[in-house]
């Protein structure tokens, strides 16, 4: 299940967001939605999971 985690520092008013469980273009789309409501981020970092490619499932034939 995908998740956005907001961490709001009540002392400074700063907000960190982490988008978990989404890769590639879908993650960018969610990030765009976040920027629409929160403005321009001061830090914007993609993590290795962002670039992860789904491994194609290997088809196993009857004669293997």
């Amino acid at each position: 299940m995908a998740e956005i985690e907001f961490s709001i520092d009540t002392q400074t008013g700063n907000c960190e967001t982490k988008i978990n469980g989404i890769q590639g273009p879908n993650c960018e789309q969610t990030a765009r939605m976040l920027k629409q409501v929160l403005g321009t981020p001061t830090t914007d970092r993609k993590t290795p999971e962002f670039h992860a490619r789904q491994t194609p499932k290997r088809l196993v034939g009857a004669n293997e």
Partner: protein
């Protein structure tokens, strides 16, 4: 995790969420328009704003001037008299507003994505998880 962003700006990107946050800290009577004059500012330093809390509408705060939010390219920026901020609203006024704004943003994202929202407080941090 696939993406990490931090938001530290003291401007408010979304007008509706700003109104929601203002309402949550007790400012429900708000005037909206474009470049409306702010009452209470020195004529030599006249200021305008697009979202205004009129000092006459919040008499209990005994404000010297209206509270304004001017729309800029980066969002709405507060226009508040220094004396009001220091002695009447409290120096943490913007931080309190930011906290409520960020919570309202999380609620909006949950609604947009058709997700569920879990909120918990850990010390000085509010953690909100939107699952979708």
């Amino acid at each position: 995790m696939s993406k990490y962003m931090t938001f530290e700006s003291q401007s408010f990107a979304n007008g509706d969420l700003l109104l929601e946050a203002l309402s949550e800290i007790g400012f429900t009577s708000v005037a909206q328009g474009r470049d409306l004059p702010l009452d209470g500012w020195d004529k030599r330093n006249a200021r305008t704003a697009d979202i205004i809390i009129r000092r006459r509408d919040v008499k209990n705060h005994h404000l010297l001037a209206d509270i304004g939010f001017q729309r800029t390219s980066s969002g709405y920026v507060a226009v508040i008299d220094d004396m009001d901020l220091d002695h009447r609203l409290g120096k943490d006024f913007i931080v309190r507003l930011q906290n409520h704004y960020h919570e309202a943003a999380a609620r909006k994202m949950a609604k947009k994505l058709g997700g569920t929202l879990i909120k918990e407080r850990i010390g000085k941090t509010i953690k909100i998880r939107v699952k979708f």
